[in-house]
Amino acid sequence: MVSATLRVAFAVFAAQVRDRPLRLLVSIGAIAVGVALAAAVHLVNESALAEFSRATRELSGSADLVVRGTRAGFDEALYPQLAKLDGVAVASPVLAREAPLVGGGSLPLEGVDPLAAAAIRPALYGELAGLYVALQEPDALVLSARAARELGVRQGGTVAVQGPAGARTLRVVAVLPEGATGRRIGYMDVGSLQWFAAGLGQLSRIDLRLRSGVDPARYATTLRLPSGVDALTPDVEETRASNLTRAYRVNLDMLALVALLTGAFLVYATQALAVMRRRRQLALLRALGVRATEVRVAVIVEGALTGALGGLAGTALGWMIAVLTLRLLGGDLGSGLLQASTVAVTARPVVLVAFVLLGVFVAVAGAWMPARHAATIAPARALKAGDDEAIPGPVARLPLAGVLLAAGAGAAFLPPMHGLPLGGYASIALLLAGGVLLVPAFVGVALAHAGAPRAPIAGLVLARLRGAIAQSAVSLAAIVVSFSLMVAMATMVHSFRDSFERWLGEVLPADVYLRLAPGADTWDLGPAEGAALAALPGVARVELRRTLPVSLAREQPPVTLIARPLGGEAGGLPVIARAASLDASLPRAYVSEALRDLYGVVPGGSVTVPVGGKPVRFAVAGLWRDYARSTGSIVVDLLDFERLSGTRRYTEGSVWLAPGADGEAVRAAVAARLGGGEALQVTTTGTLRARALEAFDRAFAITYAIEAVAVGIGLLGVVLAFAVQALARRAEFGMLRHLGLRRREVLGMLAGEGAFMAAVGVVYGLLLGLGLSVVLVHVVNRQSFHWTLDYVVPIGSLGIVATALVAAAAVTAGLTGRIATSDAVVRAVREDW
């Protein structure tokens, strides 16, 4: 039940809002932008994962278990073994390959046994079962509707694909109906594909339907599978995808929340300044009989309404941004982590409601302190003529700030929880909160050291700021929060980019690189190709390597096994730690930092890796820095790998030029000599580096965008604070004009205040941000991606942004002053303020 007095308070507040709608609109806008960013990032991530999950389920159909090896596959001998087991009702062998198309592009191919597959997923494979006879032809291909559409072929047409033995034409014997699958894919008989793709005796997976009553997860643990082959339930498949992208997603979520947090400070600043500006009206309400708690409730309700409107607008805006982002950047926001193709925005209603409530929560949090202040205004004093805006003295919260800062520093040392740097995030939040509480003290110190300028205008600027430290600190809160977080993020990204660039120089010592295109499983290199390349004119040396995914743990994404010549030392690997002693009886391996973190493998210890279908123990000789694979990698000597696997096939190579040779000419010669079309990528070092850095920048483009929005909100906070203050000070400016200050001098005074405060905020934000960046670089990044970075501060770009912010604050402060110093304000001295 709302009391009569509270109703009066609400009515007065509503009238004030009608009178000054801009202030409310700015607050709503700030909340909306923050919520929109958070919602957009979350919706994109959720939608992409949902799409991935849908694709996974479509792939596995109604299989209870999926037996899966690495992409290279496993021996088909496993198929009859599994099919004969008591618990297995149906076993469906599948070989999956990505076939390069002659003329560019590639087509995923799946080789199946149509009859067995139909028993697992009738909706799709039932169609294939009907084509059983036609599919027995070795060049028969069935296309999905989407593949046929995109390739521009119909039933009876042909598709030319590149195989290891050269180009080959496949006949399209049927096109599946639209509803069968949404994927762009071609189906062949498993035997035909094995023969065509040099995969004789190989399978990629076996889908199992278990007999009723058999628990899939428990049954999976009873299966005796070769090393590197796992039996997974579809849920585990999804978990792998989720784990792969989780750190990236959580980091983006956190970044988006930063923008929202900045919005909260903006609400705080606007509400606090509004309370200062309206103290007369609030005092009048108190004098008329409105209780202090009712004033407080009214201010909080005003904040909550602001938050609700901002939350609604933000959620709608976030949805639109998500739709656009998915169209422009794809489901992985440009990171390249997810291969989900077309992604539509999907969200549960409860999530959307949660974002609206988040806006309300943030706005109420921002209004809480100003509401307390509003309730403590002494009516008698506030109503007294000549009593100017109550400007509380500097808030002494040093002990609380100290506790928060100490707790923040302590939280940085917490280990990751559930694979996430929750301690790091807590540390950043605590350091930020402690840092904000110290803003008034820092402003006080800065003003105390600003001296006593002789020029009267400068003297007035400093006197005004010294007399309103708390007010200045309030207006600075948003800019300090957003700028410090921008400094932290920029330092982290710059450190990462700098380390990454240096790392590229170390891992790319040759002049020309060749590798199989991702997914190009039908083509690889042998010793003969290596010898042919070495004989090319302009080539001084050739090194071939083999990389393949291997699975070390069921629920973790595969790690990359890299077999390359290591020579006596680590063969040019960027090794950051070496084992003091090694078991000389074991072959050597170097593990990445991610492998150490995820599997607890350390130099001096050992790691067991499936090689050639057998588990092989390697002695860990050192730790190497690998920025290319956040799920972990293991480097072993190529000779060891060839001996243990019994194969001499390669997926990558490096070519060193002879003195005077032209890199581009050699690259072209290598590509021409090997053929392979789209399946083989041959690039010069320069191109490869440029592409890698471009991919890096694309992956971080979204973080820059979110940072820019956060800083924009912070700057908006400063502008708004100055605008509100300038309007509240109209009588002061009018008096100064009477005393003989030119209008431009009054504007200069305001610009000076703006520049000084922004400079203080920027310097403080810089110091605080550098502190936060240490946590981001050494804790959050380390625990999220499992690699270390060299700490590098982007002094130049931070300097430019800082200068731009100070200039923008000065200009906007001056501009807002123009309103407050218009000719009409000379009459403001007559207003009874």
């Binding site: 003529a385 007399g467 008096m735 003989g740």
Partner: protein, 227 residues
């Protein structure tokens, strides 16, 4: 005969063409050392008159001369400098800057006029002593009563010894006793500092402290009728 301190002739100010002029053909003079109270009903243009004399508003016709200098030809900068050097203002709501000490508030006009720091200290101390606030130099306005704040405003209006003081309802926010003290102080110090001034007021008691009191109806100054 000495030149008038302030000479106003044929002054006209009209805010809208379709409405009667707020000030219509006003003429009067103010002699050096003369302290004149101007009374009139609300809305007759008293504050408009002050703004015109202060150079904060422009007349549609007529002339305003301060010490023989015509204001009409001066640009905003020149008018600002004229105010800075030759005028002092006292307002109803004091308008003492809350973030400056009493001393700094009073020193403002001297600082703006480029007076050396040593001289500023002496003159501020003197004028504060004259208005009875010799011990308030370092106090903040929020520590003062209304009457004391208006004394600070008077000190600020006089510290640079302006030729003309314009006071707009300076006692509107004060109790009768404080008002009388402030008005007597204002009249005494304006005369003592050698300037002249106009006092806008609704109070006959306040008007009684001036050398002469006039009634303003928008067209002319008429001697204040008794009663």
């Amino acid at each position: 005969m000495a030149a008038a301190l302030l000479a106003v002739e044929g002054l006209v100010r009209r805010y809208r063409a379709d409405r009667p002029a707020v000030i219509d053909g006003l003429g009067f003079t103010l002699e050096p050392g003369e302290w004149v109270a101007v009374m009139g009903e609300s809305g007759v243009g008293k504050s408009t008159l002050l703004n015109l004399i202060a150079g904060l508003d422009s007349p549609d016709a007529g002339s305003i001369r301060l010490d023989g200098r015509e204001l009409a030809g001066l640009d905003d900068d020149a008018l600002t400098l004229l105010r800075r050097e030759s005028m002092g203002f006292v307002f109803q709501a004091f308008h003492v800057l809350p973030y400056l000490s009493v001393g700094r508030n009073v020193a403002l006009p001297l600082e703006l006029n480029g007076v050396p720091a040593a001289s500023i200290a002496t003159r501020v101390a003197t004028v504060l002593a004259d208005v009875g606030l010799g011990d308030a130099l370092d106090r903040l306005p929020r520590e003062l009563s209304g009457g004391e704040m208006q004394r600070v405003a008077i000190a600020r209006a006089l510290v640079h010894r302006p030729r003309l003081v314009l006071a707009d309802e300076p006692t509107g926010n004060l109790d009768p006793r404080s008002a009388t003290q402030v008005l007597e102080l204002l009249a005494r110090t304006v005369r003592a500092y050698g300037g002249g001034g106009l006092l806008i007021t609704h109070s006959r008691a306040a008007a009684a402290t001036a050398d002469r009191a006039v009634e303003f109806d928008g067209r002319a100054f008429r001697p204040l009728s008794p009663g």
